[in-house]
């Protein structure tokens, strides 16, 4: 459960005062917190572990790692249903 999954940052926003992003993993998008990679920007690839980006990596490395995780069946956590928050100002 310690493996991070690489994905691409599609957009950045703030939610409850935290810097967040929509991150694309293969065909799925999830929200991830960017507080631990303060310099990450839209278009960057980041390793995401339990909803937190923990490091940046390049595109080639990201796609290879992703396919390998897929192969060894380590993408299960992405199947957990999301409890997504709307961005600040639009609280449900």
């Amino acid at each position: 459960m310690c493996l991070g999954i690489p994905g691409k940052i599609l957009d950045c926003f703030a939610a409850n005062g935290l810097r967040m992003a929509t991150v694309q993993f293969g065909g799925i998008t999830r929200q991830a917190c960017l507080q631990y990679v303060p310099d990450a920007q839209i278009g960057d690839y980041v390793v995401v572990h339990v909803g937190f980006a923990i490091s940046k990596l390049d595109e080639e490395e990201a796609s290879r790692t992703y396919r390998l995780l897929e192969e060894i069946g380590q993408l299960l956590e992405l199947e957990t249903p999301a409890v997504d928050d709307p961005p600040d100002g639009e609280e449900k």
């Binding site: 310690c2 991070g4 990679v37 339990v50 923990i54 956590e77 249903p81």
Partner: protein, 371 residues
Amino acid sequence: MRFVDEYRSGRVAANVVREIRRLQTRPWVIMEVCGGQTHSIVKHGLDRLLPDGIELVHGPGCPVCVTSLEMIDKAHAIAMRSDVIFTSFGDMLRVPGSETDLFSLRSRGADVRIVYTPLDCLKIARANRDKKIVFFAVGFETTAPANAMAVWQAAREGVKNFSILVSHVLVPPAIAAILQSPQNRVQGFLGPGHVCTIMGYREYESLSQRYHVPIVITGFEPLDILEGTLLVVRQLESKRAEVENQYARAVERGGNRAAQRLVGEVFEICDRKWRGVGSIPKSGYKLRYEFRDYDAERLFDVKEIDTKEPAVCISGKILKGIKKPHDCPAFGSACTPQRPLGATMVSAEGACAAYYAYGRHLNGEAASPTA
């Protein structure tokens, strides 16, 4: 064996294996300390690809496996309360405690929910003000920053109906415990790449010096593991003992400072009991006093429950690299992933479960030399 990319093809792997064979003059025992690495090794049969004298043993690198039975029983006691919504990562749901698991509790009516990230718990807390939301905070250093942020954010926002049941474990003290054991066989380590993404590897440098043991920080892809093994063997053969970083594309010596800072603000180091192994000094995190209002153990005052593992189970020895799954008489018969008896069978990343998943209970394999 199948590699993902052409340019990282079997040819490169074969070259690495050939180089290991060329260097090796005597048998060596090398431990990987990451469940993801264990999984990759067994899946791709890397241990069988290596020359005969290089034995890979599987360390305590799965936080699900090493979460103590006592802590799991406490989780169950809390989850059964009608005023609680109990939240957890999916892989803890089937882990058996002394009597039951979270999955069964849920089918009996307990409000147990799987979350993708601990931040989801805050959303659940905001939407259910009349309930107490408790998160089962398990994991190594990789997961601690996420769990620390959930608590820190709850404190900042004044979310009062959220707490965590902390069972965090730390890798370096476990390595020290393995090396201190009189029965220790491990001569070199593949260090856990993703843990070091967060923590860096300074702590591993002092371990390597103190115990004169090579530690190579290694990724989890097949070629990473073979390269890491080569670097360990090269050190062993030349009697060096230092930390090398095979996984430089993801790991820096200092690690992720922002993450370390928040973890240090929210957690402090404590002794921790590991399933199958027992208590290891200074091997876990607990919440700092300032965050005691978020400590589920304190809030729910669950009693210490005295629990015992089945006598047949040798998972403690497996976690220390002294035995392998095949050495256990219950492996694949009385003990399977559907009915696990011990730590290393409860999660897919445990050594027994990984061996089982790839059919190693079917083809009789030689037990480890000390068996």
